[in-house]
Amino acid sequence: MLGQLSISLASLNVTTMAPMLIAVVGALAILSIDLFKEGLHKSLYVMISLLFLLLDLGALIDFGNIFLHSGTVVGMFNMMLMDGLSILSQIIIVAVSMLFIPLALTSKRFHEYDYPEYFALFLFMIAGFQFMVATDNLILIFVGLETASLALYTLIALHNRSKSFEAAIKYFTMGALAAGFFAFGSMIFYALTGSVEIHEIAMHLVGSGYANIGFVLLAVLFLLAAIGFKISMVPFHTWTPDVYEGSSAALAGYMSIVPKIAGFIVAMRLFEFLVHTGVVWLQVVLYVIVVVTMTAANIWALVQTDVKRMLAYSSISHAGFVMAAILIGTTQSNSALFLYWALFSFTNLGAFSMLWVNRQKNLLPGQNTDHPYEKFSGMIRTMPMAAVVMGLFMLSLTGIPPFALFWGKLYIIGSAVSAHYLGLALIMALNSAISAYYYLKLIVFMFMKDPVKGYGQEILLNASLSLKTIIGIAAVGTIFAVVAINPLLNIITLFVYNSGY
C-alpha cells in the first residue's frame, strides 16, 4: 500500500516531530516506571522530566542550527512547520518548563506531586503546546491546543482544594467554549477557501480579492475569541483570576507564561496577513481589544487585596501589551514580542515562585485568600533577602530600568513608535505608570509597614534548596538582563526575519 502511494519515509521528514515526541516518550517513560514500582519519591520524576526536557531543548537547538543554515523545514505532508517562530517559541516553552518543574520539590508535602501522572501530564501538555506552535495547519493547532488544555485542566484540579476544583471546572467550561469557537472559525475558513493551512488560506483570500468579506470577518471573530480565551484578552479574561487563585502559585505562574506564548504564535500566524490586508475593521477591533486589555486589567489589578489575584490581572495586562506587537506587525515588533516574553518569563516566574515559597497549609483566622498583602507586611525586617528579591521582581514588572522587563518594554514601545503607532506607544507608556501603583503597593507593604502578627512564621515555609535555586536564577536573570539583551535580540531578529514575519 505504501509503495503504491509512493511516499518515501525521507520526504515525510519525521524528525520534525522529534522534539514533541521526546516529550511524549518522556511522559510514557514516567508512566511505565510507575507501572513497575509504585510509590517512588517525586524527586525521581522531577529529574526524569528535566532530562527529557533537556533532550527536547537539545533537539530544538539543533533545529535552530538547521534553520540558520538552510531555512524552514517542513515535514509530515506540510503539517509540521519548523520555522523561526516555532523554534523560538518552543525554546521558550521548554526552557520555562525546565525552570518550572523543580518547583515541585517543595519542603512541604503537596498532594498532587505524589502522583507520577502529574509529571506525565505535564510532559504531554508541553508536547501539545509544541505541536500548537509548530504548524500552520488549523486542525493540528486545534489538536495541540486541546491536548495541552486537557492536561492543564487536570493539573489544576490535582491541587486538591475546593477552590482548585472550581478553577479547573471553570477553566474547562470556558476552554470548551473557546474550542468550539476555534472549530467554527476554522470551518468557515475551510468553507471559503478549501484549505485549513493558514498560508494557503491567505493566498486564496488574496487571490479572490477578499470576496465574501462578511464570512471572513465572522471567521476572524470566532478565531479571535478562541485565541482571546487562551491568552486572556479582555473581554475573554474572566476565568483568569479565579483559575490562578485556585491553582498552586507555581502552576499559576506557569499558566501566565507558556500557554500564552503558544497562543501568541497562533495569533501571529493568523493575524499577520490579516492585519496587513488593509481591512480597517479588523485593525480597529484588534486595536480596541489591545488597549482595553491593557488598561482595564490594570485598573482591576489596582483594587485587588490578594497578591496572586493582582499578579493574575497584571499578567492579563502584560498579555495586552504583547498583543500590541502583533497589531503593529513589523519585524521589529514581532521580535519585540519574543524578547518581551522571554524577559517576562524570568520575572514572572520569579514572582510566582516567591508566592509559592510562602504558601501556607492552612489559612489563619480572618484570612480569606492565600496571599493577602498583609502577609508580606514588614518583610524587610523579618526576611530581608526575600523582601529584596520580591521587590526586585516587582520593580522589574513595573518596568524600572535596568531590570529585565524594562528592556522588553523599551523595545516594544520603540517598535510601536517606529511603525507610527504613536498613540498606542503613549497608551502603553501610561499603562506602565498605572501598573506602577499596584506593584509599588506590595513594595510599600514589604518595606514600609510593620510586620503583622501571625504571618511571621508562615513565611518561607516551602523554601527548599531547589526552590531557592529557581528564584536565584530568576533574580540573576532579572538583574543582569542587560548583558543578554544584545545577543538575544540579534538571534530573535534573525529568526523572525527569516521566517518572513
Partner: protein, 509 residues
C-alpha cells in the same frame, strides 16, 4: 585611571553599598562616611584633571545593546562637572550629619545606591543610560521617604514616585521617537546624545518632542503646575531625604533642560520660551506667596526652594550664555543653600520634634551659633550680594533681560519681595522673647552638626565672593551649547534670539 574615572565615580558607591550589607549596624555610619569621603575626593580629583577650556572630557564608550544603538557612553563638561561634585558633596554631608537612629544600615546602603544614580544621571551621554539612572534614582528616594518619613510618608512617597514615573514614561516615548528619527535620517540606531546633537529636525517634530521631554523634566523640577508632589515629599521626608531631594534630585530636571531640550530642539526652545517664562514667573511668585502662608518652617523652606527653581528655569530659557551659565551656577548655589536650610530645619526638629514656627521664638538668645548659621544661609537664599545665590540669580536675570525687559522686571521684583517670607519666618523663630519654656534649655548645634554645616557656609560665601573657578568652566561649556543651538536653529526668530558667538566676539574685538 584617568580615562575610567567616571565609571569609577558611578559604580564605586554601588559596589560599596553591596559590600555594606555585611557591615555591622553599629559601624554602618562610619562605613558610609568613609565611602562618601572617598567618592567626594574622587570627584575633586575629577575637577583637578578637568581642563576648563575643553569640551566633553573623560568620555568612555562601550556598546550595550548595539542592535538598538544603546551604549554605555559617559562624559563630563563644565555643566555636569559641578553638579556631580555637588552630589558627592551632599551625600558626604548628609551621611556625616545623620542623626537618624532607626535602621541606620539600610539607610546608609540606600543613600550609597542613590549616590550612584545621581552621579550616573549627570555623567550619562546616552539617552537610555540617562533614563536608566533617572528612573533608578526614584527607588532609593521612594524607600527613604516611605520608610523613615513622617505620618503621611506612604502617601507622599507613592505620590512622588507615580508623578515622576508618569512624566518620564512620556519622555521615554519621546526618546524613542527621537531615535527613530535618527534612524530615518542616518539608517542606523543611536541613542547617543552627541549623535543626536547633529540632527536638524523640522520645527513641527521639534515642538512635539520638546513637549514630551518637557513633561518628564518639568515634573522633576518641579514646575508649576506639576509641583504638587513636592510639598508632600518634603513635608514627610526625613531630613536626609529632603536635603538630597532639594540639593540634587531636583537639579536633574533643570540639568536635563540644558543637556537635552535646548541643544536638541533650539527652534522649539525659542517657540516655547515665553510660555515657559510665564510658567517660571508664576512659579516664582505663586510659591513665594504660598511660602509666606506656611506655619511649618520646613514647608517655608520647601516652597522657597521651588520658588528659586523658577529662577533657574527662567535663566535656562533665556537661551544666551549669561542666562544659561547663571542658571547652571544657580543650580549649584541652590543646592548648597537649600540643602543647608533643610539640614538646619532638621537640627531644630531633632531637638523639639516639631517644625511649627509658632512653637519657637527667641531662639537667637538660646542657640546663638545656630541662629548665626541659619541667618547666613537665609541671607544667601534671598540672594544677598557676596553670597553664592546672588551670582546665579543676577546672571540668570541678566540673561533673560536680553530677551524681555518686562518679564525680567516682574521676576526680579518677585525675588526681592520673596525675601519677605524668609525674613518674617526668621523673625518669628529667632527674635523676640523666648515664648515657650521648653525652648530655654535647647542645646546649641553640636560637633556632628557643625561638621555638616560649616563647609556649606564656607562654600556659600567663598563662591559668592569669588565664583570664577566654578563659573569659568561652566561658561566655556555653555558657550559650546549656545553656539550649537545657533548653528542648528532654522527659524528666523530662533537665529535672532540665540546669539551667534563667533560673530559677537569678532565685533567685540
Amino acid at each position: 585611571m584617568q580615562e575610567h574615572i567616571l565609571s569609577i565615580l558611578i559604580f564605586f558607591p554601588a559596589l560599596a553599598a553591596m559590600l555594606g550589607f555585611v557591615i555591622h549596624k553599629d559601624s554602618a555610619r562610619a562605613y558610609g562616611i568613609t565611602v562618601a569621603a572617598i567618592e567626594f575626593v574622587l570627584s575633586l580629583v575629577l575637577w583637578q584633571w578637568y581642563n576648563p577650556l575643553g569640551g566633553m572630557q573623560f568620555m568612555e564608550m562601550a556598546p550595550l545593546i548595539s542592535a538598538f544603538g544603546i551604549s554605555y557612553l559617559v562624559g563630563v563638561d563644565g555643566i555636569s562637572l559641578f553638579i556631580i561634585i555637588l552630589s558627592t558633596f551632599f551625600t558626604l554631608i548628609g551621611i556625616a550629619s545623620l542623626t537618624e537612629k532607626r535602621r541606620i544600615k539600610d539607610l546608609i546602603i540606600t543613600l550609597l545606591f542613590l549616590e550612584m544614580t545621581m552621579v550616573g544621571v549627570f555623567a550619562s551621554l546616552d539617552a537610555i543610560l540617562f533614563y536608566v539612572f533617572w528612573e533608578l534614582s526614584l527607588v532609593p528616594m521612594l524607600y527613604i521617604i516611605g520608610a523613615w518619613g513622617g505620618p503621611l510618608r506612604i502617601y507622599a512617597s507613592i505620590k512622588f514616585f507615580l508623578y515622576t514615573f508618569t512624566g518620564s514614561l512620556v519622555m521615554l516615548v519621546g526618546m524613542l521617537y527621537m531615535a527613530y528619527l535618527y534612524h530615518m535620517a542616518t539608517g542606523s540606531w543611536s541613542f547617543s546624545l552627541l549623535e543626536w546633537y547633529r540632527l536638524q529636525l523640522p520645527l513641527e517634530y521639534q515642538l512635539w518632542l520638546f513637549a514630551a521631554f518637557f513633561l518628564g523634566f518639568a515634573i522633576k523640577v518641579p514646575m508649576f503646575p506639576f509641583h504638587t508632589w513636592l510639598p508632600y515629599a518634603h513635608g514627610q521626608a526625613p531630613t536626609i531625604g529632603s536635603v538630597i531631594l532639594a540639593a540634587v534630585l531636583l537639579k536633574m530636571g533643570t540639568y536635563a533642560f540644558v543637556r537635552f531640550s535646548l541643544p536638541l530642539f533650539p527652534d522649539a526652545s525659542v517657540a516655547f520660551m515665553f510660555p515657559i517664562a510665564i510658567l517660571a514667573i508664576i512659579m516664582i511668585v505663586y510659591t513665594a506667596m504660598v511660602a509666606y502662608a506656611q506655619e511649618d518652617i520646613k514647608q517655608v523652606v520647601a516652597y522657597s526652594s521651588v520658588s528659586h527653581m523658577g529662577v533657574i528655569v527662567l535663566g535656562t530659557f533665556s537661551l544666551n550664555v549669561e542666562g544659561i551659565s547663571g542658571s547652571v551656577f544657580l543650580m549649584i548655589a541652590h543646592g548648597v543653600v537649600s540643602g543647608a536650610l533643610f539640614l538646619l530645619v532638621g537640627v531644630i526638629y531633632d531637638r523639639r520634634h516639631t517644625k511649627m514656627m509658632s512653637e519657637f521664638g527667641g531662639l537667637a538668645s538660646v542657640m546663638p551659633r545656630y541662629a548665626t548659621i541659619f541667618g547666613i544661609m537665609m541671607m544667601a537664599s534671598v540672594g544677598l550680594p557676596l553670597t553664592i545665590n546672588f551670582v546665579g540669580e543676577f546672571l540668570s536675570l541678566l540673561g533673560f533681560y536680553k530677551q524681555s525687559h518686562a518679564y525680567t522686571l516682574v521676576a526680579g521684583t518677585a525675588i526681592i519681595v520673596g525675601a519677605i517670607y524668609m525674613l518674617s519666618a526668621y523673625k518669628k523663630a529667632f527674635f523676640g522673647n523666648v515664648t515657650k519654656e521648653e525652648n530655654r534649655t535647647l542645646k546649641d548645634v553640636n560637633g556632628t552638626e557643625l561638621l555638616g554645616l560649616v563647609p556649606l557656609v564656607i562654600v556659600a560665601i567663598w563662591l559668592g565672593v569669588y565664583p570664577k573657578p566654578v563659573l569659568e568652566p561652566i561658561n566655556n561649556s555653555v558657550k559650546a551649547v549656545v553656539q550649537l543651538m545657533h548653528d542648528k536653529a532654522q527659524t528666523v526668530e530662533a537665529k535672532e534670539r540665540i546669539p551667534d558667538l563667533t560673530h559677537s566676539t569678532q565685533e567685540a574685538h
